[in-house]
C-alpha cells in the first residue's frame, strides 16, 4: 500500500516539476517597451542558453531586439535560425497535429503559431533591407506568401475542407517585394506585387498611386530617391488562458480522432477545457507621423494588421484547438481509470476490498486529478512582434535628409520624436525602420543608409 502511495506521490511531484519547467520564461516585453534593449538582449541570450529546446523562441524575440539595437545582421542570423527550427518542428498534417498533443503543449518544443511562421519571413526581409548589405530581402519577401500557402494546404480536415483557407493574407511581404522590384526598375513585377497588396489590404490607401506609378514606369523624378519608412507599430498579440466549453463541433472532431486512434468510441465526459486564447493591447499607437527636414511628410499606412491576423487565425481553428485540448484531457482521465481498473483486478478475484486498496485507489485518483489540474494552456508566443506593419513612401532629393518620426493615435502625434539622418541616392531606395511599441515608451529608428548612427538605446550606457 505504501509503495502505491509513494508511487502516486512520485508521479504527482514529477508531473508538477514537468508542468513548471515550461513556465519559467522571464518577461522581457516590459524592458523592450521601455527601450532597455541591451538588457533584453542579454536576458534572451541567457534564456536561449538555458532552455535549448526552445532556443528558437528566444531567437525570434532576440531578432527583434537586435533590430532595435541597430544590429540588423545579427537579427537576420537569429531569425533565420529560428525560422529553420520552426520549419523542422512544423506539424506534418491535420491528424498528426491533433494526436501529437496528448500530453501538455508546454512540455514540447515551441512550434509557433501559423502567423508567426509566416511573419518570421517578413521580419527577415525587413531586417535584410535594414542591413543594406545583402541581396536576400526579395527572397524572404517571396517566402511570406509561399509559406502561407503551404500552411493552408497542409491542414486538411476529415471532410476534405481546408480550415486554414480563411486565414488573412500578409500584404507586407508583397509590399517589400514590390518596392525592391520597383527600385530595380522591374515595373511589371512591381505592379503584380502592388496589386496583391491592394487586394489583400484595401485599407492601404497608397496602393492605387503605387500601381499608377509603376504602370507609368518611373521610380522617382530625376535627381530624387525614395525613403521608405517601414514601421513596426504597437505591441503584438499575446496568449491568455481561457476556459472554453466543449462544443458539439469540437466534440465531433474529438470523437473522430478518439475512435480512430483508440479503436473504441467510449470517451470521458468533459465539459470545459483550458485553451490558449489570443488577446491584444488596447493602448497601442495607430500610426507613425513622419517629417523630413522639419516638414511634415505624412503618416504611415496600415499594411498588415497582426492583431487581426492572430485573432482570425484563432477563430478559424478554434474548434480544432478545443478538440485537441479535450483529447488531451480525455487521455489523462482514461489513463487514470485504466490504472485503477488494473489495480483492482486482484481485488475483484479475491472478492475483497481493504482499506489499503481504498487508499491506493485514492492515491492513483489524486495523482490523476493533479495530472489534469496541472495542465495549462500553452501561453508561449513571439511576444515582441508588433501589432502592425505600416509603411510610408517619401520621395526626396539626392543628398542627406533628417527624418523625424513620432508615434500617433488616430491622427494625433504624441510622444518623443526619434530622428535619423539618411543618405538619399538618385533613383534608389533608402529604408528607414521604425519600432514604436507604445505611445510614450521606448522607440527606435534605424536606416539602411544612415548618414550618422542613430542615438543609442536607453540602457546602452549602463550595460557592461
Amino acid at each position: 500500500m505504501d509503495r502505491y502511495l509513494n508511487s502516486s506521490m512520485a508521479l504527482a511531484v514529477g508531473l508538477f516539476l514537468v508542468s513548471c519547467a515550461g513556465g519559467q520564461r522571464t518577461n522581457v516585453r516590459r524592458e523592450f517597451d521601455e527601450g532597455r534593449y541591451q538588457s533584453s538582449h542579454e536576458k534572451l541570450t541567457g534564456l536561449a542558453r538555458k532552455d535549448g529546446k526552445n532556443e528558437h523562441l528566444y531567437l525570434l524575440e532576440r531578432g527583434v531586439v537586435s533590430l532595435a539595437l541597430d544590429r540588423a545582421g545579427d537579427a537576420v542570423r537569429d531569425l533565420r535560425l529560428a525560422r529553420d527550427r520552426l520549419d523542422d518542428l512544423a506539424g506534418t498534417d491535420y491528424v498528426g497535429w491533433l494526436s501529437s498533443m496528448m500530453l501538455d503543449d508546454r512540455q514540447l518544443a515551441y512550434q509557433g503559431a501559423d502567423y508567426e511562421q509566416v511573419l518570421v519571413r517578413a521580419m527577415l526581409a525587413l531586417a535584410d533591407l535594414a542591413d543594406g548589405n545583402s541581396e536576400d530581402a526579395g527572397a524572404y519577401a517571396l517566402q511570406v506568401a509561399s509559406r502561407q500557402r503551404k500552411i493552408i494546404e497542409s491542414f486538411r480536415a476529415r471532410d476534405g475542407s481546408l480550415p486554414k483557407s480563411s486565414y488573412r493574407q500578409v500584404a507586407f511581404g508583397s509590399y517589400l517585394k514590390a518596392i525592391i522590384d520597383e527600385e530595380a526598375l522591374k515595373f511589371d513585377l512591381a505592379k503584380i506585387q502592388f496589386q496583391k497588396v491592394k487586394a489583400i489590404e484595401p485599407r492601404f490607401s497608397p496602393a492605387a498611386a503605387d500601381i499608377k506609378r509603376v504602370v507609368e514606369g518611373h521610380h522617382s523624378s530625376k535627381g530624387n530617391g525614395v525613403v521608405h519608412v517601414l514601421a513596426l507599430v504597437g505591441r503584438g498579440p499575446f496568449r491568455v488562458e481561457a476556459e472554453e466549453p466543449v462544443t458539439r463541433a469540437a466534440l465531433a472532431i474529438a470523437h473522430y480522432i478518439w475512435a480512430s486512434s483508440r479503436n473504441r468510441a467510449a470517451i470521458p465526459n468533459i465539459s470545459r477545457v483550458k485553451i490558449p486564447a489570443v488577446a491584444v493591447y488596447e493602448d497601442n499607437p495607430t500610426e507613425v507621423h513622419v517629417s523630413a527636414d522639419a516638414s511634415p511628410a505624412g503618416s504611415t499606412s496600415l499594411l498588415t494588421d497582426i492583431e487581426t491576423l492572430a485573432l482570425d487565425e484563432f477563430e478559424a481553428i478554434r474548434e480544432h484547438i478545443v478538440a485537441r485540448a479535450f483529447l488531451r484531457r480525455a487521455f489523462k482521465v482514461t489513463a487514470t481509470q485504466l490504472a485503477i481498473e488494473a489495480a483492482n483486478r486482484g481485488n475483484d478475484r479475491r472478492g475483497e476490498y481493504t482499506d489499503g486498496d481504498a487508499l491506493r485507489d485514492l492515491g492513483i485518483s489524486a495523482a490523476g486529478l493533479l495530472w489534469s489540474a496541472l495542465e495549462g494552456a500553452d501561453l508561449r508566443c513571439w511576444s515582441l512582434l508588433p501589432a502592425s506593419f505600416q509603411a510610408l513612401r517619401v520621395e526626396l532629393s539626392e543628398g542627406e535628409h533628417l527624418i523625424s518620426l513620432q508615434a500617433g493615435k488616430k491622427g494625433v502625434a504624441a510622444g518623443t520624436p526619434r530622428e535619423v539622418k539618411v543618405h538619399v541616392r538618385d533613383g534608389y531606395n533608402t529604408y528607414v525602420v521604425a519600432i514604436f511599441p507604445s505611445m510614450e515608451g521606448g522607440a527606435c529608428v534605424l536606416s539602411s543608409d544612415a548618414a550618422e548612427p542613430p542615438s543609442p538605446p536607453a540602457d546602452a550606457s549602463g550595460s557592461p
Binding site: 508521479l11 514529477g14 541581396e135 500557402r149 488494473a342 483486478r345 486482484g346 543618405h423
Partner: protein, 208 residues
C-alpha cells in the same frame, strides 16, 4: 494468480508514470551532432533550399562555360584582372552564408584557369561604397568609370567585370511537392573591347 495480477497492475501503473513524465520531455529533445565529411563523400543535397550539391554544380558549370567562351575569344600576354561582383539574388531563396562562398568559388576557379587574376571582394565593396554606386550602375559608362578610377587609385585596376545572378523558377505540385529550377548566370563585360558574354548553368531540383 493474485501475485500475477498484482505484477501486471504494477507494470501498468509504472508505464503510466513513465509515459506521463518522461515522454513529454523526450518528445522534442535531440542531441546536436556533427562530423567531418570525407573528401570522397558527395556534397549534401539540401532538403529545403539549394544547398552544397546544387551550388557546386551551378558554379562549376557556369564558370567552365565562361572561361571557354571568353578565354577562347580573348588572348592576352598577361593575366587579365577581373572584378567579380556580389551575386544578385533574384531567387526565391536567401543566399545567406553562400553569398561569400559563391564569390570565393567563382574567384578561385577563375584564378586557377591561369589567364585571369581576380580582385579581392574587399576592394570591390570598398569601391562601390566609396563611389556610392550599386552593381547595376556599372552598366552606365560614366558611373562605371568612377568605379574603375577608384580601383585604379587602389592599384587594382579591373579589365573585366563579372556579374553573377541567381534566379529560380518554382512549379508547385501540391502542398508537399514542388520542382525548382536554379539558374546561375554569369555576365562578363570586357572593358577594353566593350563586348559582353553571358553564360548560364541550370540545375533542376525536386522537393517533397
Amino acid at each position: 494468480m493474485d501475485l500475477l495480477q498484482g505484477n501486471q497492475m504494477k507494470k501498468l501503473f509504472s508505464v503510466v508514470c513513465v509515459l506521463g513524465t518522461v515522454l513529454p520531455i523526450l518528445s522534442s529533445c535531440s542531441m546536436p551532432a556533427g562530423r567531418i565529411m570525407k573528401t570522397t563523400e558527395p556534397d549534401s543535397v539540401g532538403s529545403r533550399a539549394a544547398g552544397a550539391a546544387t551550388f557546386d554544380q551551378l558554379l562549376s558549370g557556369a564558370v567552365n562555360k565562361l572561361l571557354l567562351s571568353h578565354g577562347a575569344a580573348r588572348e592576352a600576354a598577361t593575366k587579365l584582372s577581373v572584378a567579380v561582383l556580389r551575386v544578385e539574388n533574384a531567387s526565391a531563396e536567401e543566399l545567406g552564408d553562400w553569398q561569400e562562398q559563391i564569390f570565393d568559388k567563382i574567384s578561385t576557379s577563375i584564378n586557377e584557369s591561369g589567364r585571369y587574376q581576380t580582385i579581392s571582394l574587399r576592394y570591390i565593396d570598398a569601391g562601390l561604397r566609396e563611389s556610392r554606386l550599386k552593381s547595376g550602375d556599372l552598366f552606365i559608362p560614366a558611373k562605371r568609370r568612377v568605379f574603375l578610377d577608384i580601383l585604379e587609385a587602389a592599384k587594382v585596376p579591373a579589365q573585366v567585370l563579372i556579374f553573377p545572378k541567381l534566379t529560380t523558377g518554382t512549379t508547385e505540385l501540391g502542398p508537399k511537392r514542388a520542382q525548382r529550377n536554379y539558374l546561375l548566370t554569369l555576365e562578363l563585360v570586357d572593358i577594353s573591347t566593350g563586348r559582353d558574354f553571358r553564360v548560364s548553368e541550370e540545375v533542376r531540383k525536386a522537393y517533397r
